[in-house]
Symmetry: D2
Subunit: 344 residues, 4 copies
């Protein structure tokens, strides 16, 4: 298959390129920029020195040409780009996996509110499918909206509790910690090494853009869900997310039931490792497509704590995108995905 | 004044020595080890190369000699040491500030349970005063039990909410993040650089030794308090604690009231900086004795989030110990304490 | 092929296991410990939580059984182990790739001096081949001594200069910087996070064990080499080595010649990327088997500076070991080796 | 005394403000910006949240007003600012300590070449004195040019060797490592956390602006000096510089002589700690005004290695500036300077 990537020079795009390059079903990768014309041609290895030798041109965006040259296209672009470029591709039902947030929310008003810009039309949004792989393993749409990194870690951690109605919905608190690569390579005072190093900063309290997709998915599972308490704290690491989830158990629910339910939901899922009462750490999954989960129960407070960790650029972005690609094309789900975390 | 320190070669002891050396009321510092006899004499600058030039001997422990030579004594020792050595000093009502956990809990059974070793006697424990300075600014005991680092950050963050009965007590969740120096210089797999770096690890879920002192103090403020949900996550920094505190407001309480109450409690406290809706980060306080506090309110969940940050070795250990020393001896509270955080 | 690994629970062993698991020619991996008997059996995923799911037993060491079960064996063991266990394997000319230093030096006296323990016999040492792949790409011995991490970075950086006699040998200065994983997972004061973080430490000045293998190889290239000035500085990263090499050019040698000579030596080598006057950084190679090289020339001092970077656990250990495995078994040199560095 | 600071919101300015605030001879600090007019007034604590409570206005620059209000002025400004603003202050011989590079070089052509902008006039430059305190402890000029951070570490490490003619001048190689704060708070791709973290980068090979001031001072000590080989490598720490200096000893010079000469030159200097054969690490000096020095000798190569470490924002900037202030005003040299490094 020939594959196109728009946005290969961003962090998620770098990782996506690396994965697809080793994917046994991919014979050629074509790279495109956001613009319809390029004044000069640049090359991947010039933009990303680590990729010296990968001398692929970054071509101008041209929907017709892209559809002619490729079997499938990935958007690894900042918010706002895919929705501007996708119209002809959507109209042709061309196979797309979109790592950005543009087509994750069904309600245009929610998108406008959280992303502070106009949304794609409701009709276009309806064509896209939210690709949380473990709960959407037979995708049918041509357009897959790949979930956000925080959303992936949080939803995989919460899913069995919500689906099985085990917790008091109003008691949920999510305290998520993230590495700096989650914010992309854009320069800002808060990405400066001297700012982040030896620091921790709760940078978004109930304000992160991934909140509406978390809520939308939770409501798909249980329409009683109304809100979620969600904070994101930057810690001085490059890669990784830990979502620490707190909730009170409903009366009569036991820790044993919790353990059983997670086991049931995830035992056939190759990329979720249920660790039961052993709490996972970020380094257990770095460099892999795994989401590791563990839990603890406090009888004094009746609170269950679930810890969910992922590599934000793999399971939280490019890895899950390749997983979606495999599901879309009916390849084995693990094809082309690195099996083992990097350690140390 | 002449001051003794037991345990100057540990992290808290290092910092304590640095502070006391610059304290204008301290004319001499004498250092002692835990043992009654030394086979050979070692010196501070041999143990701590950063302190080259501070050629003070680490003398054997001798209670009579210590009381004869000093006006006040600091224990900067691991759990279990102070309770073994303090008996003659307590009997003599000798002025002591103890940075360890040995005399913080009033109930010997609680100490035994959390510290996994026998406690000092209830009579001895009764002689000690829990020195959370902002709420104990006129100490009367000769023996001050300096609070733990997590306890300081958490209690200063929770105090106005508990004292003024503003929150649903059963809804409290504390998600605390800490640097590695909090665990001291002891070697362990989890202090290895390659383990901690690029990682985050929830290492103690409802199991940290500082929980009982947090509860004891909260119960002093409100006897309805029964439990607290408390987790501690190690992040790859050397110094600093962030306690993120979540709780649901009682019916009718407004965010404005929250702001007012914190302002009221802390406006005269030189080492607490209330930042209102600006959430503090760890680096705002590193190298200083400040505790910075900020908050946010989520109308969708009725949850207030309070962020409390300290330098665990200063406000969480040696800095608060000097603050207690100042209060005990009626020096201005800020004497000898560095005023400004290190930045960057 | 079935492959045995002795020492899979160390850092190099972890990485080696990950690589071999994805190697298309490897059908089964068998793991062994250093001891002839195990009181209880442990499993890889119990020892290395990141490898949850890799439930392979760590079997006792038994040379006969190992030779019967495997086609090739890797030692990923600390210094001193291979030389104790290898005798029957050497006698049988069993294919071995040894990541430790035990069989790198030809002179037993040099080994004893630098490793502070008895060496293997000169006869045994003579059977082993020093596997610096780019300069030993047709190995003939059954026993390959895989080079040390510092040696690999330094030798690949120096090789063209020495082989082509371009520099004043007495002027060579190597200032090497390394991450902490190079010292393995052993606990020590100098591997403590609070010690390494925000620090840099020249820990071995002309005392590193890799010096004699560097000299031995340089002398193979030019018997006029007598000594090398070599220092190793620990920096707060987990993975990576940068060897900064300084030397004065011989009279009449031009920078252009330097560029040409590196290009000539490395243009056909898949794992060495010559960057000419663009100096590489560690992150250009992390997670890959690449050695990246760049240079600069100072006309004011007549000094050429060459910068050589590798991932110490890949090109400096397990990656080069797999490269040696490929060469030994006549597989394409890049088989099973990750092609692209991790970025960011 | 009343003191003015221009540029208090940069990193060096932050530290300078902290130091002067605790200086017993300073009664008031006045802050100024670079501009002659401010459209709106900002305040120090608004610009630097860590300094909450330090509510000082950043006033517009006005030379007459500054001279009227202050006894001494510090420039903590980027290159190019002081030379533009200083003319009336120089004309009045107003006491100035300039942390920037504008007045360090005597030769305007050298400044233009290295700083890529026009220099102050030779007459103005002649009025300034290069304030390397340990070798200029009786300053006589009104205008002190505070040395650069790399220059301070390198010159203090080289001084005894050059002054006493102990080494072959052409053999000198300086391999300097620095933390990220040295480049200031300006945003750039190379200050991004995800770029620097887990990385090392030789960013300037014989191209750092501090080279000409190093050479100028070395030539003051020995007019035979012609050039210096000098590279700067960024490592993932916030603060600190290590300059590793290599040179061949002249015939007949012994290591013992080296030790004696360093001891002789520095034994009366409060801020230089000679550690002899114990090599210092960056963390030995962080947070202090110390420069620690150690050395080793390699008989196989006849090379002496000297390691020099400083905190780039203290001894390499604001700390040395206060030391110069003390020398200028005949206060004890250590007045107002923190005595002990931060550890851990």
């Amino acid at each position: 298959m020939e594959i196109g990537i728009i946005g290969a020079t961003g962090y998620s795009g770098n990782v996506l390129y690396s994965l697809l390059k080793q994917h046994p079903q991919v014979t050629k990768i074509n790279l495109y920029g956001h613009q319809q014309t390029n004044s000069t041609t640049s090359y991947l290895d010039e933009e990303i020195p680590s990729f010296q030798g990968e001398h692929l041109p970054l071509q101008a965006f041209n929907a017709e040409k892209i559809m002619a040259e490729n079997d499938c296209l990935f958007f690894a672009t900042p918010a706002g780009v895919a929705k501007q470029l996708a119209t002809p591709l959507l109209a042709a039902d061309f196979p797309i996996i979109d790592l950005s947030g543009d087509f994750r929310l069904k309600d245009p008003a929610e998108y406008s509110k959280w992303y502070q810009q106009p949304a794609a039309s409701a009709e276009q949004l309806a064509k896209a499918e939210y690709g949380l792989c473990e709960f959407n393993d037979h995708p049918t749409a041509a357009y897959i909206a790949n979930p956000g990194c925080y959303a992936t870690a949080t939803l995989l951690g919460l899913a069995p509790l919500i689906i099985e109605h085990l917790i008091e919905l109003k008691s949920i608190v999510v305290d998520a910690k993230s590495g700096v690569s989650g914010a992309g390579k854009k320069l800002s005072a808060s990405s400066h090494f001297s700012f982040i190093n030896e620091n921790a900063w709760l940078y978004k309290l109930n304000q992160h853009k991934h909140i509406p997709e978390i809520l939308q998915q939770m409501q798909n599972w249980d329409d009683q869900v109304q809100a979620v308490q969600f904070s994101t704290t930057l810690i001085p690491i490059t890669r990784g997310i830990m979502a620490t989830i707190y909730a009170q158990l409903k009366p009569g629910i036991t820790p044993k039931q919790i353990d059983d339910v997670y086991r049931k939901h995830y035992q056939t899922k190759p990329f979720v490792r249920w660790r039961s009462t052993e709490l996972p750490m970020i380094k257990n999954v770095t460099g892999s497509n795994y989401c590791d989960l563990g839990y603890g129960y406090n009888p004094a407070t009746n609170v269950i704590t679930v810890v969910s960790v992922i590599d934000n650029l793999l399971k939280g972005a490019a890895g899950q995108a390749v997983q979606n690609f495999n599901l879309m094309w009916h390849f084995p789900e693990t094809t082309g995905l690195p099996q083992l975390p990097i350690f140390p």
